[in-house]
Symmetry: C2
Subunit: 313 residues, 2 copies
């Protein structure tokens, strides 16, 4: 049975330059990419903050989908978070050229009463203190997944560890997994993340896909006491702009879990595949452009194609 | 029906240092890793050159398996190829600390008469001029696959292009694929490799797995006129020494193709999976140590495990 899905994170104006062109002041932010990606599969409850400069056209992108914007807080006289970045060559890493946190710098998420019964929660990248404050406002979620980044691993280690003890899943990238655990081997790093609390961890590897490691659930066993699934990236010949790929991946993953209402290992694996193909559309154009024009059937089609590619039997 | 398999390449004394220890003057070389890996699946015909210093114990490693060493040429008074290298951190790249080509520097492979009817041929990394000279000594092979490297891409471009026009498949790593084609996107790079002649290309990505791209064969079609299969690396928690992983991968791949006697796209995909799991054993110890003690059943077991990990249905 489908379950409610909440996301809390950033909403931004992005300015991006890649070898394929540039885009100025376009809609971005972790919570936005997540919401739009997840909304193909499930209604989404969005909590975030913007300034008075946030245009109706951007709000419309969210409201035209099954995204409940009751938690979209507008700060009077404030300006929206702005990020400027660029990519070169194989576009594996974003270079941040400019950041203005603006109203996002003082973001203290306050969940609308109606969002407090959310069953699935995604805490997009943000301070672990803020992430924890969100968690405390949700009554009894079935599944809480968080993203994090190098900044918090380095500067908010204690708060991050406190959060890890409370969440079900952590999503982070390869370099962050190594930084968090000090283990160069990715499987070992993922194992150590599990030792910090979460039941599962998803390590994002950009164009190389993702790795899922989970503790055994009921009726699930594996020789070495853990369940593992490596998935390759979906082969994308047209990568225009990788911005938002990670959050779209998380959105597809959580959206699918909300849709099917369960999260055993086989479901997580399939959800990771949905995340992978959803993100493969995001990168085909700047901002949310590709997702805006997309139909669920196209995602399902690419999922079948992906699944066929991996059929070894 | 099984087919004969020939490999021509280097035979070396390796000295390797990794975060897990070191090994001095151990058996190595592309043709050795390839032969031992392939010999789990099929008899192998090996052509290579060594010096008088090549010990019986090393010869024994080859002869104790189904590896025909009739093409193992010993140069009187010569010394065997020596390589010294090291790996750090996540061990994604070897640093070459010392190279002595010795007898391999003058290697002009001369195929034993009995090897000239080989049906599957693997031209391990070497000068494209030398690789072509081997090809000209084989009567009518069904499938010729070559490996190459940055050195030849930069310095022997014409000879390499002449070779590409004559072979069926090319195996190379990510950085080499980008260097050969000037395309940062890996799918585009692989497509351009196909435009240079080969019917298929396998791009090796180390711990991140491999990408197979093939032109349509008979009865095989795909929307975009090409067949593609991305496979993740097998998750290895114990990577001791990555040396020889690429050649073991190629050995498992070609060995399986020789065993089944066909090379349509589905067979190539499955062969790539065999290459992946075979290489996942190689890296668990220095030199050929892990492969020496291995049974085919262990490879088949890991292949089933890998195949299950990728089952998304």
């Amino acid at each position: 049975m489908a379950k409610s899905l909440l996301v809390v994170g950033s909403i931004a104006f992005d300015s991006v330059r890649t070898p394929h062109g540039e885009a100025e002041d376009v809609l971005g932010g972790s919570a936005v990419y997540f919401s739009v990606a997840a909304s193909f599969f499930s209604p989404v409850r969005l909590v975030g903050v913007v300034g008075e400069d946030f245009p109706d056209a951007f709000r419309q992108v969210l409201q035209s989908r099954e995204i409940d914007t009751a938690g979209l807080h507008v700060v009077e006289g404030g300006r929206t978070f702005r990020w400027r970045g660029s990519y070169e060559g194989a576009m594996n890493e974003a270079r941040t050229d400019e950041v203005h946190l603006n109203v996002f710098g003082d973001f203290r998420p306050d969940l609308p009463e109606a969002f407090r019964d959310s069953r699935l929660v995604f805490l997009a990248n943000g301070s672990p203190v803020t992430q924890m404050s969100v968690l405390e406002q949700v009554e009894k979620p079935d599944l809480v997944v968080a993203d994090t980044m190098n900044l918090w691993i380095e500067n908010e280690r204690d708060a991050l560890e406190a959060l890890l003890a409370r969440i079900d899943g952590l999503v982070l990238n390869e370099g962050e997994a190594r930084m968090l655990t000090g283990r160069p081997n990715l499987i070992r790093a993922a194992e150590e993340v599990l030792a910090l609390g979460p039941k599962f961890v998803v390590v994002k590897k950009g164009e190389h896909g993702a790795l899922l490691l989970a503790r055994e659930g009921e009726g699930e066993t594996m020789a070495e006491g853990r369940l593992v699934c490596p998935l390759p990236g979906f082969p994308c010949p047209e990568v225009c702009d990788p911005t938002g790929a990670g959050d779209s991946f998380a959105g597809g993953l959580m959206g699918h879990l909300a849709r099917i209402g369960k999260h055993d290992f086989a479901s997580l694996r399939r959800a990771m595949a949905y995340g992978t193909v959803t993100a493969s559309f995001t990168v085909e154009d700047f901002s949310l452009r590709r997702l805006e024009g997309l139909a669920l059937e196209e995602i399902e089609g690419r999922l079948r194609q992906y699944s066929d590619m991996l059929r070894l039997g």
